[in-house]
Structure formats: structure tokens, C-alpha cells
């Protein structure tokens, strides 16, 4: 199911509400409804369009395409400072590639896209090794799809499949083990294109 990301104010309490509404591992339908309701509420109360401050350090991620809040030309560049402004998130899960439970920390992908002002849900993720995968069929609202930069307390590097990595909470749903999800768990992420 596609998520249409709407204009949401950068009201932290509101986003926190959203996060709390959606972050729970309980997949009750009522919670989903609450998330959507919150979003509608926020749309109603949205005021001026937000802006994104430009990066100051090493650019870790570039978001291009149909976005509303670019900060470098018509692209939204993110560095670790900008990532720090977004709500921090994390979870523990097993993965198809590692042994045992891993702890990942980062930001929610949907928050990043919201910050960039992505206008559509047609997203491509591009890795440093020129690998490209489509995230269009991923429900970013339903599950806590993470943009991870720490694994088991250590920062990710290129050699450890970082510095940014898309991670799914594999333990939460068995469908993550399908080809489409596993192909979308892009590591060594450098860019995202919004169509």
C-alpha cells in the first residue's frame, strides 16, 4: 500500500504523536486509523510551508526529484546534523544477513521524506555501488522503516554497509523476508529519487 505523504507541520509534538501512534509493534487496525486521523488533523492545522536548513558537514544523503523543501539547489542534502534534528528511532531485530539479533538506530525513513517535502510515494533508493531499488510498494506508515546509521552501537561505515542503510523490522512481519523487501533493504545508501 502506498503512503501518500502529506504536508505535515514540523510540530515535534505532533510528529511525536504520530510516531507513538505508529511505532508500537501492535498491529491493531485502530492504531492505523489513529495515525491517519492525526495526519488529517495536522493537514487542517498546517500553516506556512516548512524550510530545510542547508547541510554544514559531510552530505550523507541526497534527496532529488519532486520535493518541496530543497536546501541545495533543487535537492535536499542531509548531513548528520540535519539527521539529528529528526526524531531518533531504533529497534532490535534479526536480519537475513546477520547471525543473532542486531540493534539498529537511526531515523524513520518517512520522517526524512517528510523533511525533504517529498510529494509522492514513488521513491527509488540508490546505493553507493550504483544499486537501485524501488521503495514505491513499501508501506512506510505501517512499519517503522528505518534509515539506520548505527548497528549494535557502532557507526556504520562503507565497509560495514553504511554509512546509511535502509533496515526493516524483520521480526515484526514475515513478509519482510520476501524478495521485494529484501531487495529494497538498500545498504550504502547515497540518494533517493522522488518521481
Amino acid at each position: 500500500m502506498r503512503t501518500s505523504l502529506l504536508h505535515v507541520s514540523s510540530d515535534f509534538s505532533c510528529t511525536a504523536l504520530c510516531e507513538r501512534a505508529a511505532s508500537s509493534t501492535n498491529r491493531c487496525g485502530a492504531r492505523h486509523f489513529v495515525a491517519i486521523a492525526t495526519m488529517f488533523l495536522l493537514i487542517a492545522s498546517s500553516s506556512a510551508a516548512q524550510t530545510l536548513s542547508p547541510p554544514t558537514g559531510n552530505v550523507l544523503l541526497v534527496v532529488r526529484g519532486a520535493i518541496d523543501t530543497p536546501n541545495v539547489g533543487d535537492e535536499a542534502h542531509f548531513d548528520d546534523v540535519l539527521f539529528a534534528t529528526l526524531p531518533q528511532h531504533g529497534f532490535e531485530t534479526r536480519t537475513p544477513w546477520d547471525d543473532g539479533t542486531q540493534r539498529f538506530e537511526g531515523v524513520l525513513l518517512k520522517d526524512v521524506l517528510a523533511a525533504a517535502g517529498a510529494r509522492s510515494a514513488l521513491i527509488d533508493a540508490i546505493g553507493k555501488d550504483d544499486y537501485r531499488a524501488s521503495l514505491s510498494d513499501i508501506d512506510l506508515e505501517r512499519y517503522a522503516v528505518l534509515l539506520a546509521f548505527r548497528q549494535n552501537g557502532s557507526d556504520l561505515t562503507l565497509r560495514t554497509l553504511g554509512p546509511l542503510r535502509i533496515m526493516f523490522p524483520f521480526d515484526d512481519a514475515p513478509e519482510f523476508y520476501s524478495q521485494s523487501y529484501m531487495a529494497a533493504a538498500v545498504w550504502q545508501l547515497v540518494a533517493m529519487e522522488i518521481k
Partner: protein, 597 residues
């Protein structure tokens, strides 16, 4: 039961079809899985190859740029890090089945060695010579190629497998359609054969029930006809029996009366009366004959007979009648001998002659015999109206009478020819009838020749005149009969012939009479049907027991029913039928007592 078989086979067929379906479904799934599978490996192959290539390209680009600007950023290190992560990060899961291949493990091992080898050159300020670059580029390209080869091999293997499965799927689908079609054909054939079998069975059932019904009705008809006929015969037999008693008495009385009639006219009248009685007698005899034939109690005693004798007897018997009718009776003697039963043959010929006389208005009736080597043919010819062809078979039926020339009914019951027919069958002699178109009938009887050396001595028949001469002096006869007139008649007749007579109604009366008169009779003459359902045979036995002597006995019976005749015959006593011909009675008495005058 059939339905059960049909049900079972249908279910079995359905199960087979379902199994085939299931198999196809599974195989298709495998094919799809196989198609989908390999994406992981393919990704890995693609990515690995690309990574090696990119590393080589970046190295070469840097080499170019570094000639101009030695501080060109070392972008190739990024590529190196990527390679490093590819080779050293645990990822068994995403190499998929590749990890099992020895080529993969070898490639990974070699690559790892290479990566570790060149790590020093990836340090920020490491000195990289042209040969280093050359080496790195060459090795990277080699490794990329090997990855590609692995991928190619895998792809081919997977494709081949997929194609194989597809082919199998196609074959299976073909087989399935064929199976389905043959199943349908088999089903239709089975169904149609069952239907036709069922139809055949039901038509057969219908036919058989129709046949059964027809058979049953035919049987009914026959039985009814049979029953009817038997009823008729029984009726006639009963009626005859009731008629016989008075006839018997009449005959006895007339015989006795003769002596007491002085005038010639009186005696002539008496003769007329006697003849009438005789005629009645004949009629009843023919009915008796039929009964006896029905009862099958007639014994055939064959012997060599002189035809001349028999013919002579017939002439004597029938000449009066022929004269009366104004017909000539021609009897030709032939000196021939036949082998046959005397009594029965006489009966046949008597019936034929009598019949001929009845149906001829004028002219003659002739009796003659001819012979060849083996057979004798006796012919009875008449100059009557003849028998039309269509009636020639019917004349031998019981009660059948042809129309006389003057339209009147003849005397008789129509049994004569039927008796002739049945007797001829019993004797196994050939009987045929022929007629001329202008009238005249001829009956032919074919018999076996006999040898003259074995001729039987003729039984002397006492003539009417001789009869009076028979005397039974000193003979005491016991007559047991429940009919008073018969008793009287017998009494008178026997007394005429000097016979002493004791009469009784029943066995007990007889015994009482014996005791009272203190006389043991020399002969017992008993009626078969006595009062209180006692049989004459039983009465005789009782009397014999009483006197403790085996007194000679004979039974006289008016019964014509076959059963009674059989019983009477089975009793072992000499049997005479009512109305008794006095001559026969005397002959029997003579035989039994050994007395004659």
C-alpha cells in the same frame, strides 16, 4: 449393484483427475519459484561484477587524472571499501544457492586474498605505481569475469532447469488433456453401453413377461380344455352308469322272458325289444370304450388271427342291419392271417362297418383284405356320399358327426371313429381314409402279417339258440347287488339255467344268508359299487373269509369312470360290464367254475 460400480469408478476417475491437477499445480509452482528464485543470485552476480569493474575503472581514471594533478581525490578507495564489504560482510543469505557452488567459494577466496593484498595501497597517502595499477586492474577484471562466468553458468543451469520443467509441464498438460478426453470418451462409452444394456434388459424382461403371460394363458386354455373334456367324460360316465343298471336288468329280464312267450308274433316283438336293448348297449359300450382308453387300462394281447373268422363274425353280426337298410354287405374271404389283438381289432372293424352302414343310403358296404410281403391291408368300402377333404381329419374327433345325406342325425354319439382312431394308435396299425369325388369312402387298416402256424383256436361263441342249452345244475351262485331289479333279473336268468341263486344287498346280508341257509355258494357275482361305499371286491373278500374258502368270483360293474375301472381291474377279479351280455356271463361262469353242459 451396478450403480455402486458406476459410482466407485466415477469417484476413482475424479480422484485421478484431481491428483493430476494437484501435480500440475505443484510443478507450476516449482517453476514459478524457480523463476522468482535466482533474483537474489542474479543481483549478487550483477553487483559483484559491477563492483570489480567500477574499481578497475576508477583506478584507471585516477591514474589519468593523477598525471595532471597528483592530489586528485582517490575515489577508487570508495570502490575498494564497497568490494571489501561485499567480500567480508556475512551475507550467505543473499548469495543464495551460489554459496554452495565450489566456483563461488573459490572466487570469494581469491577475491578476499586480493583485497587484503592491496589494502596497503588504499591508505590515504600510499604510493601507487603504474605496475600496481596494472596489477589491480587486471586482477579486478579477471575476478569480475569469473563472477560473470559463474553467473552465466548459473543462469544457464537455471534456464535449462526452467525449460526442462516447462517442457515437462507442457507434456503433462498434453497428457492431462489426453487423459481428460479419454476419460470423457470412456465415460460416454460406458454410459451408452450401460444404457443400451439396460434397454436390452428391460426389453428382454418385457418380452419374457409377455411370453410368460402367453404361456400361462395357453396352459390355462389347455388345462381348461383338458378339464372340460374330463368333466364331459366323467359326466357321461356317471350318466352311463345310471343308465346301465336298468339296462342290465332289462337285458336279463328279456333273456328270461323269451322262454315264456309262446306266440311267434310275441317272440318277434321280443326280438325287436332285444335289438333295441342291444343298440342301447352298443351306445353305452362305446362310451365305456372311451373311458377305458382314457383310463389306459386296455391291455393289448397280440396273437395270430385268422381274418376269415373275424370277417365271418362281422358278417353274421351286421347282415340283419344291412338288410334292414336295404344295403348289401359284401364280405370277401382271403385266408390271410394277421398278428394283432383279437378283441380290439374286432372292435375297430365293427365300428368301421357300422359307420359305413349308417352313412350309406344305397348301394353296398364291402369288407375285404389284401396283402403284400409284410403287411395286410383291410379295407372297408361304402357307396355313401363320401367325406369332403376338409373333414377327413375332423371325423376322428370325439363327438364329431358328419351331416347325413337327408339331414337327419344318426343314432350314436359320434364316438365310433374316435375309438377306431385311438385303438389303431394303441395297436400301432396304420389307418387311412380316402374318398372319391363322386362319392364313396374307403377306410384302410394296415397290419402286420401273422404266421398261420400259430393260429389261435377260435373262442366258440354260443349262438342265440345254443344259449338256452347251457345249464348249471347243482351250482349255487351268490349274487350281491344293491339294486333290487338287477338282483331279481339275475336271479331269474340264472334259475332258468338250473342254477341255484342266493341274493344279498351287501356283504353282511350275504354272510347272514350263508349262515341261515347253511350253504356255501360255488360262485360269487358281485356288483362293484355297493351300498355304504363298500366295494364288490371287499364284499367278496369278506364272504370268502366268512367261509374260509377261495370261492370263485366275478365282478360286474356299471362304472365307466376310468378310476373305478382301474380299481375294479386291480382287484384281481374277473370283470364284466353292465349291461351284461348273457352269453358273456355264462362263458365267464363256465370258465370260473369249470362247468358246462
Amino acid at each position: 449393484m451396478e450403480r455402486l460400480y458406476i459410482a466407485i469408478s466415477s469417484v476413482a476417475a475424479l480422484i485421478c483427475a484431481a491428483l493430476v491437477f494437484y501435480l500440475m499445480f505443484q510443478i507450476n509452482n516449482t517453476r514459478l519459484t524457480l523463476e522468482a528464485d535466482g533474483v537474489t543470485e542474479f543481483n549478487f552476480i550483477q553487483q559483484s561484477d559491477h563492483n570489480f569493474d567500477s574499481f578497475a575503472i576508477e583506478l584507471m581514471k585516477w591514474q589519468q587524472r593523477a598525471l595532471i594533478d597528483p592530489d586528485t581525490p582517490r575515489d577508487f578507495t570508495t570502490r575498494y571499501d564497497i568490494l571489501w564489504s561485499m567480500l567480508f560482510m556475512p551475507r550467505a543469505q543473499w548469495t543464495g544457492s551460489l554459496s554452495e557452488l565450489p566456483e563461488t567459494r573459490e572466487m570469494i577466496a581469491t577475491s578476499r586474498e586480493f583485497i587484503i593484498d592491496i589494502e596497503p595501497l588504499m591508505k590515504p597517502n600510499a604510493r601507487i605505481g603504474a605496475s600496481d595499477i596494472e596489477y589491480m586492474v587486471k586482477t579486478a577484471k579477471e575476478l569480475g569475469t569469473s563472477v560473470y562466468q559463474i553467473g552465466l553458468g548459473l543462469y544457464q543451469a537455471k534456464s535449462a532447469l526452467r525449460d526442462d520443467i516447462s517442457e515437462r509441464m507442457d507434456r503433462l498438460t498434453g497428457a492431462f488433456w489426453f487423459f481428460g478426453a479419454s476419460l470423457v470418451v470412456a465415460g460416454i462409452t460406458l454410459f451408452s453401453s450401460l444404457t443400451s444394456a439396460y434397454r436390452r434388459v428391460s426389453s428382454l424382461l418385457r418380452e419374457s413377461s409377455t411370453a410368460q403371460r402367453q404361456l400361462a394363458s395357453a396352459l390355462e386354455e389347455v388345462t381348461d380344455g383338458d378339464i372340460e373334456r374330463r368333466k364331459q367324460n366323467r359326466f357321461i360316465a356317471t350318466a352311463s352308469h345310471d343308465l346301465r343298471q336298468p339296462l342290465h336288468a332289462l337285458g336279463l329280464n328279456l333273456a328270461t322272458l323269451r322262454r315264456h312267450v309262446p306266440s311267434t308274433l310275441g317272440r318277434r316283438i321280443l326280438d325287436n325289444a332285444s335289438r333295441s336293448t342291444e343298440a342301447l348297449n352298443q351306445l353305452l359300450s362305446s362310451v365305456l370304450d372311451v373311458s377305458r382308453l382314457d383310463a389306459a387300462i386296455i391291455e393289448v394281447k397280440r396273437s395270430d388271427l385268422s381274418l376269415d373268422e373275424i370277417f365271418e363274425q362281422l358278417r353274421r353280426t351286421f347282415t340283419p342291419e344291412a338288410n334292414e337298410r336295404g344295403l348289401a354287405l359284401d364280405v370277401s374271404l382271403s385266408n390271410l392271417v394277421v398278428h394283432c389283438d383279437r378283441v380290439l381289432l374286432e372292435r375297430i372293424l365293427a365300428n368301421l362297418v357300422s359307420n359305413a352302414l349308417h352313412y350309406t343310403r344305397q348301394g353296398s358296404v364291402s369288407l375285404a383284405a389284401t396283402a403284400d410281403e409284410q403287411e395286410v391291408v383291410i379295407s372297408v368300402k361304402d357307396t355313401g356320399p363320401g367325406i369332403p377333404e376338409r373333414e377327413r381329419a375332423a371325423i376322428f374327433d370325439e363327438y364329431y358327426q358328419m351331416e347325413t345325406p337327408d339331414g337327419t342325425r344318426t343314432a350314436g354319439l359320434g364316438l365310433g371313429l374316435s375309438i377306431v382312431h385311438r385303438l389303431s394308435q394303441l395297436l400301432d396299425v396304420g389307418l387311412s381314409v380316402d374318398s372319391n369325388s363322386d362319392g364313396g369312402t374307403r377306410f384302410d387298416l394296415r397290419l402286420a402279417r401273422g404266421s398261420s402256424s400259430m393260429l389261435e383256436l377260435p373262442v366258440v361263441q354260443p349262438s342265440a339258440g345254443c344259449r338256452d342249452a347251457i345249464r348249471f345244475d347243482g351250482l349255487t351262485a351268490l349274487v350281491i347287488d344293491d339294486d333290487r331289479d338287477v338282483r331279481e333279473g339275475m336271479h331269474l336268468l340264472l334259475e332258468e339255467h338250473s342254477c341255484r341263486v342266493m341274493t344279498a344287498e351287501s356283504a353282511s346280508e350275504a354272510r347272514a344268508a350263508i349262515v341261515a341257509e347253511e350253504t356255501i355258494p360255488d360262485l360269487i357275482i358281485a356288483d362293484y359299487r355297493l351300498r355304504d361305499d363298500q366295494t364288490g371286491a371287499a364284499a367278496i373278500v369278506e364272504v370268502r373269509e366268512e367261509v374260509n374258502e377261495d370261492i370263485p368270483a366275478l365282478i360286474v360293474t356299471g362304472d365307466t369312470s376310468p378310476t373305478r375301472l382301474r380299481e375294479a381291474s386291480a382287484s384281481g377279479f374277473r370283470l364284466l360290464n353292465k349291461p351284461v351280455v348273457p352269453d358273456e356271463l355264462f362263458a365267464a361262469i363256465s370258465e370260473l367254475t369249470g362247468r358246462r353242459t
